[in-house]
Symmetry: C2
Subunit: 418 residues, 2 copies
């Protein structure tokens, strides 16, 4: 099945917003084995949208259109699709009721005549409820193609696609799709791909698709089968092989788990507390930890020691250490981690000190030189990093690698103290 | 002039990367008054790209193509464009030399025959040097349209566009373009647009285009004229009018200045130091400050006090305050700011405490209730926020509004102590 994605919206053509909808839908199509050959963006212009739909209909089996379903005169998606495929627009009583209820519940403003425009549907189509807004979605089964129409705002589009369009598509060929996300930290993208190039090359079902993220590599493994159980069974050997090859570089197999979620849940499960002592990252590591709901169970306090003075005052980094080795050194990073754990009486700690640039680099200590340290119940581990990129990228990579270092050290600790 | 953007790359169709190139190019076209009617994405498939170029050529005056210029067999952009417009590919000696030099300088690997593929150009086109990679860009002046071809990686594409394609386009109609970015914090998007709806409606030259960012609204004002001086003169009244209407809600007129840059430079210029005391933001505010190069001039240390215990221990928040008003209260926020300034002997401080969710909300103190406080040389100011969104969004908005609060209070302080 060949799909085409059409995004409608002048704000995309003007560059006011980035088209993340196409990216989301492309991923979802890839997941269930639908090939996307074209992604098109057109503005809120009826004739150009009609042309785009006609072209898409002539070359694709599935057309997914997002945007242009609002209540204003500018919103012309339904009108254009109806004209392109030669059908009428008719009032949908169910949508009318839903809109009424939506306004009653929210008590926001009053319904205007233009709101009723959103209750019009293309004759003979299936109406899909929108639980997060007033614009319903539609599935039109046309002679030439299946046409799906969804609202543009991602917080309305994504739940609608997940709940209604995705199951519809998955059912089309009687297959179920099941996928796992193998998330890896500590190995570069090309190195990771090379390590499994034989698996990638001979893939068919399950499929393996790589996704790169700053400092991480993710592989999505997807199997299609007649039942979830069968798909899971088909996945097992390939997941096992990836685990064998990547070992503890894999931090999760779950799509919705991030590195910081994994660290927080490891700590929480084993009754360990954590703190951070940050120099160049300036709060980025603690902020990532605190972004996980429930972080308060394991993190009480943390410190940003940007100056040498602060490193001595709070963390007890020795003046001799700073004089002899410098603030960006293995020794300072280690003392920062120990000092942070002592100051806050935490079981574990993460420290980071480095030169994020653009200034401050020397020949011996260039921009990108960073030391990260972990502390866990008396044991300190320091790692030297040599990172490339601008200030923002160096700081982000530092935070990722520092979280990963603590994750590995917790696992080591648990192995040694079962 | 009507433009069409074509992105080439299977990795976009598969959803492996977000198409940020189209967004960037759309913005740039809007800036210089070029209308983009279509954005197209096709994979690394020669026939589909040929079709896309032919269609674009029949309806657009300018075609900007990105991607597919690499050295592999999969990279087919030049080949497809040459076929679509009926021209040959010929060896470009200058590109050949550049590639040789590039490899010599970097001493990375050796040149393979496929690298020489990158020295082929479309007959009769202008070759644009790539200072950040081996794939040159091209400008083809065809009977039907101007076709620009650029490499896909943004770090190669953007400098090439800025340095060569943008000046080429700007020169086409003998006009120069000049723009200012009016960045506003503290007013919602719709409220800000409403405040200048009369200006937006009657705009022609200069143009006013709104851009929304979490917690901020930006208006890009662009004038086209025969000279920079003339364009600047044309801008003056409209910029003056925006300043009159938005007053000190405007924090900068410069595109490359962010809110945190403005705060750091205000502090630095007036010899003031700063610290932060963060609860729900967990280091996000300090991290944003530290992301500005030179932050070390004004920030020495900062603290994350997530628990009540930490708020008392480091910041001297009174136990009675926490018992009587709670950790999320005007009183606690104020005491946090004072305590942080005292602890670190800083001239100014920012504090934030709130309920970021998803748990922890009550009827009296719902998720999204946040107090931010600023301290400047003895004067404390606290603000209550009622924010909507998920945990990440609430924390981001809190950080933005807290930085803005300090900015406003510094300006007040400077007014009162000239």
């Amino acid at each position: 099945m060949v799909a085409e994605l059409i995004s409608v919206g002048t704000e995309i053509l003007l560059g006011n917003i980035v088209n993340t909808n196409s990216n989301y839908l492309a991923k979802k199509c890839a997941e269930i084995g639908i090939s996307v050959y074209y992604q098109i963006t057109v503005g809120d212009n009826e004739q150009r949208l009609i042309d785009a739909v006609k072209t898409a209909r002539s070359r694709s089996d599935l057309i997914i259109i997002t945007g242009g379903l609002g209540p204003t005169q500018d919103d012309i998606t339904k009108e254009a699709v109806a004209k392109a495929i030669g059908r009428d627009l008719v009032m949908d009583e169910h949508s009318k009721e839903k809109i009424q209820t939506y306004f009653n519940e929210r008590k926001q403003g009053s319904i205007t005549p233009s709101n009723w425009k959103q209750a019009l549907k293309i004759e003979g189509c299936q109406v899909i409820d929108n639980d997060n807004g007033t614009a319903p979605g539609y599935i039109v089964e046309d002679r030439e193609a299946i046409i799906m129409i969804l609202p543009g705002p991602p917080n309305e589009m994504i739940p609608m696609f997940e709940n209604s369009m995705y199951p519809y598509l998955a059912k089309l060929d009687d297959k179920v799709f099941y996928s796992k996300m193998v998330k890896i930290c500590g190995i570069g993208e090309s190195q990771a791909e090379e390590a499994i190039i034989d698996l990638i090359e001979k893939q068919s079902n399950p499929t393996i698709a790589p996704y790169a993220k700053a400092g991480e590599v993710h592989f999505r493994v997807t199997a299609s089968a007649n039942s979830i159980e069968e798909a899971q069974q088909m996945m097992e050997p390939i997941i096992g092989e990836l685990q064998r090859r990547f070992q503890d570089n894999i931090y999760t197999l779950e799509e919705n788990e991030s590195l910081e979620t994994v660290v927080i849940s490891l700590l929480s499960r084993h009754g360990l507390t954590v703190t951070t002592a940050e120099s160049c990252t300036g709060g980025l590591i603690s902020s990532q930890l605190v972004n996980v709901p429930g972080a308060s169970d394991v993190l009480n306090e943390a410190i940003i020691t940007y100056s040498n003075g602060a490193k001595m005052k709070y963390l007890g980094v020795k003046e001799e250490t700073l004089t002899e080795y410098g603030a960006v050194s293995e020794q300072t990073a280690g003392e920062m981690a120990i000092g942070a754990a002592n100051l806050t009486k935490s079981d574990t700690a993460i420290a980071a000190t480095g030169i994020a640039g653009p200034g401050g680099g020397t020949k011996e200590k260039p921009v990108g030189l960073v030391y990260i340290a972990s502390y866990i119940k008396g044991k300190v581990k320091v790692k030297e990093l040599r990172l490339k990129g601008d200030r923002t990228k160096i700081r982000r990579l530092t935070a990722t690698y520092a979280l990963d270092l603590l994750r590995r050290e917790i696992l080591n600790y648990l192995n040694e103290n079962p």
